[in-house]
Amino acid sequence: MKNFKKTLALLAALALSATAFYGCDTGSSNAGNSAANDGGNSATEESKTEDSAAGTDGEAASGDQLTILCWNANDSQPMVDLFCEKTGTDPSLINIKNFNVQGGQASEQYTQYLANADNDADIMFLEADWCLNFINDDAQTLPLSELGYSESDFSDIYDYVVETGKSTTTGALKGISWQAAAGGFCYRDDLAEQYLGVKTPDEMQEKVKDWDTFLATAKTLKDANGPALSATLGGVWQVYSGSRDSAWVKDGKLLVDDYCTKYAEFAHTLYNEGYVTKVSQWSPEWTPLGQTDDVMGFFVSTWGFGDTILTAAAGGEGGATFGKWKCVVGPSEFYWGGTWLAPAARINNKELAKQFIDFFTINEEGATAYAEKQGEYMSNKKVMEAIIAKGDYKGAPVLGGQNQFEVLNKVADGIDMKGKITPYDAVIKNEFSNAVNGYCDGTYATVDEAMDAFKDGVAGQITDGSVTID
């Protein structure tokens, strides 16, 4: 009995101290908004414990280590593994600081981590949506020229990848991606033949070569009581947003122009005529649509051919429609996501950092090795063309023999982002698509009402007065 009591007391004490430490881990996000200022401290402790766990002793080592900030290890770990293997670098020289959160939350985590000047950072992984938060901030990131790069070094990299890595305030190139997340329109081969009499991807491309033909084809399908041409409005927006020919913000002013009203009407037609389904993108019933005959196509980016979108849509290997898909460029070139590498301003390991960035971008051997190992679509055009020409890679199995790289190479080459990028794009696009969705499902009766809601939405999000909205 006495022992029992002792054990109980010990357990209680352990439980208490466990709750005390629980706070350290998630303190910043759990303890409410105002704790964020203190969050930096807990992050330090975290990184220190991780350092020591890696078998290196704290301060001395972190100065020599190449510290990579990332939000998950899906990319960083295989990259570091391959880099060390091929270049003979000692893995203990590289420290992956993994925040283990969703991409959207990483920006906040980085800011807190970097708020402490003692925290080491050499290379940062930045997601397309918010990379400009860091790239535009000279206190956080360095221009690549500081590592000894000039822009001509990246002549083999797809234009849009280089363009997105530039600061929109100074124009300096500050980040570069190893991946190109270009996307195309994937459609059901059998349905296309049945309803449209289309036999090859080239013929299909003719049917969806621009938005007018896209609409006409969708009408043909519906008139024949056929499937919706594309699965979701979200997917269409992903692509349509890439075909905007000016920046969203010009001279500090939000530009609400014909493009916006035109898309709103276009979306309204698609949605209410049944040219797309009423399912939302990323909702649970989204990908299963691919196994029904109600939908003919999905817009898919390089990373979407696997289980994320298309293979899941086909019902997995051996699924109902597995192998019945084909890929074409579609109405407009677009890219969807991607991760950029940027040197942190406090970098203390320039040589190794440059070697690392080189390896995955302009070093053809390295980029090829990584593409082959991970099946990744690299940002190096020359490498990708060589891989296509070599013919070892036969394309995603879900496409039943077509090599999507041939299509994506065309798309990535055609993406033009010059002068169209602003740091507000993610917020603006999201608010715009919300407003248009509201117009489609009848929340807003007119386009004007939807545009008003759109402006209000943006105004509520960008509160620092840097963008004028009338």
Partner: protein, 340 residues
């Protein structure tokens, strides 16, 4: 003469060990509750985004409560009031059915005349939803109520001819549909918990009262309105206060019950507003903190009203009566003195 050892023993105070044991709680409380609480007040008078270091006085409150000239200020003001309104709607909509349902069940389960079989089983089953995390509940309801003919509820309605195939009900984005689902889910999650609390309160009422009522021939309605309900009032008030605090801070379901990143403005609560304003870049600490303070003030005010309701009227009467009597006694003694 006592030995020094004896003296020493006498001077050992065991009280300090008690303090050691409760110290961890207070440290955690201090770091994760008290400091953030005070800091929230501080942040509410500081700027937003890149101006987070600037003292701005009451301007955050002014913008949130009264709006302003430019579009951003007007939008924030509109959002706050929209969200406060939603919060109240969602709270009323889940609290009233929740209290009614749990009161009814609690009375049934504790009634000695009703011999319900498997009481424990029902109690457990009804309490279970409370154990499921809100994230799972949101996922479950999103799955069940998804718009389109593929959603289970919609496909059921379509199959039985209640609605046409081309016109599925939008339970996720529709204004009252989404509110309804959230209210229902909240009620479903919390009625078991409330029921258990009410039951314990009912069981605390002396059995002899019920027996006496029985013998006097009171029917069950009379027992309920004349005995159970009056004696249950402190517990009902307690439930009201806790549920009100929880309801005003409702965040999880309204935040999670949506598709992707599309905000649903008709279910956005004030807690979601606070979260959103803080979780965008640049972070708006000022607006978030000011909204938190506004919420704090509202919660305290409503809490005070509830407590005022809880102070027993009988008690007040008695106190007043006693006072009166003392006065009378004083007067009497005075007059008797004068008479003497």
């Amino acid at each position: 003469m006592k030995s020094s050892a004896q003296n020493k023993i006498r001077s050992i105070s065991y009280a300090k060990y008690g303090y050691y044991f409760i110290l961890p709680f207070f440290i955690v409380y201090f770091i994760f509750q008290l400091v953030p609480l005070i800091n929230t007040f501080r942040l509410s008078v500081y700027g937003n985004g890149n101006f987070a270091q600037d003292y701005v006085g009451m301007s955050n409150f002014k913008i949130l409560l009264f709006g302003g000239a430019n579009r951003t200020e007007a939008a924030l003001h509109k959002d706050v009031f929209n969200d406060l309104f939603n919060t109240l709607i969602l709270w009323f909509g889940n609290f009233i059915p929740q209290l009614a349902l749990s009161l009814l069940l609690a009375v049934w389960f504790t009634d000695i005349n009703l011999k319900i079989k498997g009481k424990t089983f029902f109690k457990i089953v009804m309490y279970l939803p409370n154990i499921v995390t809100a994230a799972s509940v949101a996922a479950l309801f999103l799955m069940l109520f998804s718009k389109t003919k593929y959603g289970p509820i919609n496909s059921f309605l379509i199959d039985h001819g209640f609605i046409s195939e081309n016109d599925p009900i939008d339970f996720v984005k529709g204004k009252w549909q989404s509110r309804g689902v959230i209210m229902f889910a909240q009620t479903w999650m919390w009625f078991g918990n409330t029921m258990i609390m009410l039951m314990s309160a009912i069981m605390g009422i002396s059995k002899s009262l019920f027996e006496a009522a029985d013998i006097d021939g009171a029917n069950s309605r009379q027992v309920f309105t004349k005995i159970t309900l009056p004696l249950l009032r402190p517990m009902v008030i307690y439930t009201l206060v806790t549920s009100m605090i929880g309801g005003l801070q409702m965040w999880d379901l309204p935040y999670l019950y949506k598709n992707g990143t599309a905000w649903n403005k008709s279910t956005e609560t004030i807690a979601v507003f606070i979260y959103n304003k803080f979780h965008i870049i640049p972070q708006n600490y000022g607006y978030s903190a000011a909204a938190s303070v506004i919420l704090f003030v509202i919660t305290s005010a409503l809490g005070c009203i509830c407590f005022a309701m809880n102070t027993d009227k009988e008690d007040k009467k008695k106190k007043a009566l006693a006072k009166e009597q003392r006065k009378q006694a004083k007067l009497q003694s005075k007059s008797s003195f004068g008479g003497f």
